[in-house]
């Protein structure tokens, strides 16, 4: 049975149970063992930005999708010592210039064996590991920072690890050996690292500190982080985090900052090492009425694009773009290829610049839960605006939203390929 068929058959089972009014006996029957599951069906539509320097490139135009359909079925198994999460995901991409195509994936996102030795808990296997404080950006989430721009309702992929943790009262001391079987050149989720963390909760505050050692380009990177969340009044919570890295790596374009040479012959992106990186965030949460809540955050991240780096890169893209109208076909082809390479800048750090302001308003209605968020880049006047509506009335929940990228043409958000995204999701957890 192919994956699409499997997902569809399983979806039908879910749909039959989901359409019934919630029934305790049915729910108990389905979850009486150790298995639970969630299912999401989603439709997304996109608008494209014709002001982007890469908007009309043939190569990129071919990849533009008008909309996608996504089905996600997640199976979660939990027994005394074994935990497992498997995600089956199918996605149909509808392209305005090509036929629809279907991709599917089955991923074991979590598979662990846990037990205790004396007063210590140990875990072996692949596991979700998230640390830190905050909503939009968490400097202390050093193992698997979540992708905030995804609409998909699914668990994050876990990280292979061996962990030893002690939970005592309201404190937690943990030692983690991450990706022990990977080689030292891996980065991101597969990066080999050792980490220790201590966290404690007090009457009005939670705080944590961590220390991580990784290997980057044959050098050891030592990171130290500290952060906390403080309940200031009945309505106000403040949080803050700081992460200091002895060295860090940025992807940089070899021609950025030059004006004489605008074309590269091979992939121009290099890994450039910097020292003493700082990432910090301050934010808070304010409940100002029985139903309204505001969240606010500001952060600075040395690892993201600086104002100068972006300006240099934008100049290069403008020069390359100017050659698209060249009379010579060869130059046009080279310009197109180079612009496509230049566009890779947007793949890093979720498009964010070094300084960011995030605001989120949410309203807790009886059945409707609207919210709106703005991610604003103060150096560029660019922003990502999102408006979401969650409908909590039926067994199957509905979620719909719109996301608008806007900014001047010389800003990151003004250069993104997409200018708008819209989606509708139906989902249930059982």
């Amino acid at each position: 049975m192919n994956t699409k068929l499997k997902i569809t058959v399983l979806s039908l089972v879910v749909a039959v149970t989901s359409t019934q009014t919630f029934n305790l006996q049915a729910n108990e029957l389905l979850t009486s063992g150790n298995l639970s599951y969630s299912y999401a069906l989603q439709q997304e539509w996109y608008d494209y930005n014709n002001k982007s320097y890469v908007a009309d490139l043939q190569k990129i135009s071919a990849e533009k999708q008008s909309d996608t359909d996504t089905e996600i079925l997640e199976l979660i198994y939990g027994a005394e010592h074994i935990r497992a999460t498997v995600t089956l995901k199918g996605r149909t991409n509808k392209n305005s210039s090509r036929d629809s195509n279907y991709d599917s994936d089955a991923i074991v996102k979590q598979l662990t064996y846990s037990n205790t030795v004396g007063t210590w808990d140990y875990t072996i296997g692949r596991k979700f590991t998230g640390f830190g404080f905050g909503a939009a950006f968490r400097p202390l989430d050093v193992i698997q920072n979540q992708d905030l721009l995804t609409f998909d309702r699914e668990s994050q992929p876990g990280v292979d690890q061996l962990s030893l943790e002690k939970f005592s009262g309201l404190s937690n001391l943990g030692f983690y050996l991450l990706n022990p079987t990977q080689n030292k050149y891996q980065v991101g989720l597969k990066q080999r690292a050792i980490l220790t963390r201590y966290s404690q909760s007090k009457e009005n505050a939670d705080w944590m500190t961590l220390f991580r050692i990784t290997e980057q380009q044959k050098k050891q990177n030592v990171q130290f982080g500290i952060g906390g969340s403080f309940v200031v009044t009945e309505a106000l919570e403040l949080h803050s985090s700081l992460l200091v890295s002895s060295n860090y790596i940025k992807q940089e374009h070899s021609l950025d900052g030059q004006s004489s040479i605008i074309f590269a012959e091979s992939n121009p992106w290099n890994k450039v090492e910097y020292t003493n990186g700082k990432t910090f965030m301050v934010g808070g949460n304010w409940t100002y009425s029985a139903r309204n809540n505001i969240m606010f955050e500001y952060w600075h991240d040395d690892l993201a694009l600086s104002k100068n780096q972006w300006r240099n890169h934008l100049n290069l893209m403008a020069l390359q773009y100017g050659q698209l109208n060249s009379a010579t076909a060869d130059i046009r082809t080279i310009a197109e290829g180079n612009l496509a390479w230049s566009y890779q800048a947007f793949g890093h750090k979720q498009y964010a610049m070094q300084d960011n302001i995030f605001l989120r308003w949410s309203y807790q209605g009886n059945t409707l839960h609207p919210s709106a968020t703005v991610l604003y880049s103060p150096n560029q006047s660019g922003s990502i605006f999102s408006a979401l509506l969650n409908i909590d009335k039926y067994t199957v929940k509905f979620n719909t939203g719109v996301r608008i990228f806007s900014g001047p043409r010389d800003s990151v958000y003004g250069q993104l390929l997409r200018s708008g995204e819209y989606y509708v999701t139906a989902y249930g957890d059982f």
Binding site: I76, Y77, D121, Q156, L236, D392, V396
Partner: protein, 265 residues
């Protein structure tokens, strides 16, 4: 002679002042004792009321919430609540769309745990109150730990004279600033209640359904009528209520976040 009269008069005056002060002090003491006695009695009654919901120090309660709006069922939710002494409550959400979500309440500290996130989120007391059936309505099974009680004059409800007790919050982070309880005169069974928020406004009023399980009498249903949103009623049904104790580790927010496929049984 005049001097003797003056001394006698002054002595009488002084002694009468002292006597009056002593009498006043004695009266105040008597009043205080009487008031204290009344409070103690009221607090004892609240403990009796609590025993109709929480018969054991550590319990597991399965609770179903139905929200009725203008006579029509708007939604239904299912929760499992694990309660331990010392104002410790763990609420596990069991309904579709929020299955696996948890709220941990330790004294006046609160955390929210989302099913697909391995991080506990510290929340403020007011954030805990967001939503239609507040977590406090579900997680709080005993009032005597959170409130001080004072007896009020008996009132008549449906032609029957009942006792009235006013509860005032003595700890931070509770859902309601004060609660007025109406109790049966002999048994002190809870009959009705009024819930007031910090502004002093009446937020909800409640009635209780008590059932004899064979072993004991216990509250099996609480009907909460919204005093602000007219026509809105929340039915809180206690589907099961058993003596049950889980390991203290489950009241550590980091442990809960770690164990996202919570397996308590």
């Amino acid at each position: 002679m005049k001097i003797v009269k003056y001394i006698l008069a002054t002595s009488l005056l002084i002694s009468s002042i002292f006597a009056s002060a002593a009498e006043q002090e004695a009266n105040t003491l008597a009043e205080n004792n009487m008031a204290k006695g009344t409070d103690q009695e009221a607090n004892e009654w609240v403990k009796i009321v609590d025993s109709y919901r929480q018969f054991s120090e550590s319990i597991k309660v399965t609770t179903r919430i139905q929200v009725i709006n203008n006579g029509e069922k708007e939604k239904e939710k299912l929760y499992e609540v694990y309660i331990k002494p010392g104002r410790k409550s763990l609420v596990v959400f069991k309904s579709s769309g929020e299955n696996g979500q948890k709220v941990l309440m330790l004294d006046n500290m609160f955390w929210l745990l989302m099913p697909k996130s391995p991080r506990p989120i510290r929340i403020t007391p007011l954030q805990k109150l967001l939503g239609d059936a507040t977590t406090g309505d579900i997680a709080t099974m005993s009032w005597h730990e959170d409130y001080d009680a004072v007896k009020e004059s008996p009132v008549e409800i449906d032609g029957v004279k009942v006792d009235s007790v006013m509860l005032t919050a003595k700890v931070q982070g509770v859902s309601y600033k004060s609660i007025r309880l109406f109790l049966a005169r002999e048994s002190h069974k809870p009959l009705k209640a009024e819930f007031y928020v910090s502004s002093g406004k009446l937020a909800k009023y409640a009635s209780f359904v008590i059932h004899n399980t064979g072993k004991r009498e216990q509250i099996i249903k609480m009907e909460l009528t919204d005093a602000i949103q007219k026509g809105r009623v929340t039915l809180v049904e206690y589907l099961s209520n058993e003596s049950y104790s889980i390991d203290d580790k489950y009241y550590n927010p980091q442990f809960l976040a770690n164990d996202i496929t919570l397996k308590i049984d």
